[in-house]
Symmetry: C2
Subunit: 141 residues, 2 copies
Amino acid sequence: MTADPSHDTPTAHTIEEVPETECWELLAGEKLGRLAVLAKDGVDIYPVNYVVSNGAVYFRSAPGQKLVDVTASPFVAFEVDGVHERRRWSVVVRGDAERLAFDSEIHASGIALLKSQAPTEKWNYVRISPKTITGRRFTSR
Amino acid sequence: MTADPSHDTPTAHTIEEVPETECWELLAGEKLGRLAVLAKDGVDIYPVNYVVSNGAVYFRSAPGQKLVDVTASPFVAFEVDGVHERRRWSVVVRGDAERLAFDSEIHASGIALLKSQAPTEKWNYVRISPKTITGRRFTSR
């Protein structure tokens, strides 16, 4: 096989793990993430605005398919990424999503103050309790 | 129940569907998307650089968990979003992901020229053949 310059050449240490405490700092600095859920007909994905509070991720959802999916299949993956000093980072939280039942929880989380991604009426507040949180940082070339 | 100003008030026509042809234009104008897959232990999500070509989405993958997931459970959801004239849009492609087996397919897609998200060696090229493509545009407030 001949060398193909269009392929990446392998480079050492170009992906770096981000420690958990820094993952939370990165999450706290952004507001838009993407939520992957298991829908009846396979995986689906939604952009959502979120807040972090007390080691959990909170978002709002209008009554609709996203909420139905999360209720039927609570295990979700949530990803946020950004660029810092020319290096892209990505943090993924995986865990169970649960609709908040009590006003006290809703108010404590700060989620009620969040500007929502889709500006419709949203009365449902959802918490993702992380089972795992992982972060990676990529060297731009 | 008393009015709570922290809640969104409902507004008419604040989410708009994006026609399919425009979805493709929006996809073609970006390069970073998020891939939702079904892993062995539930949904997972990865940021990926991509190209669109001939009505399909192409990305590269290093040998690793993402590729294992896609091989085991080919139905994926892929999301790209952006902001245009102060309005955020989001396009979601759902369909089967398939590893490209032939150099001719790889070269025709243009994917071999793509700068990858994670700059490691990537020898696997994957095509998502859309079953559905949907786009939404949100009015910022």
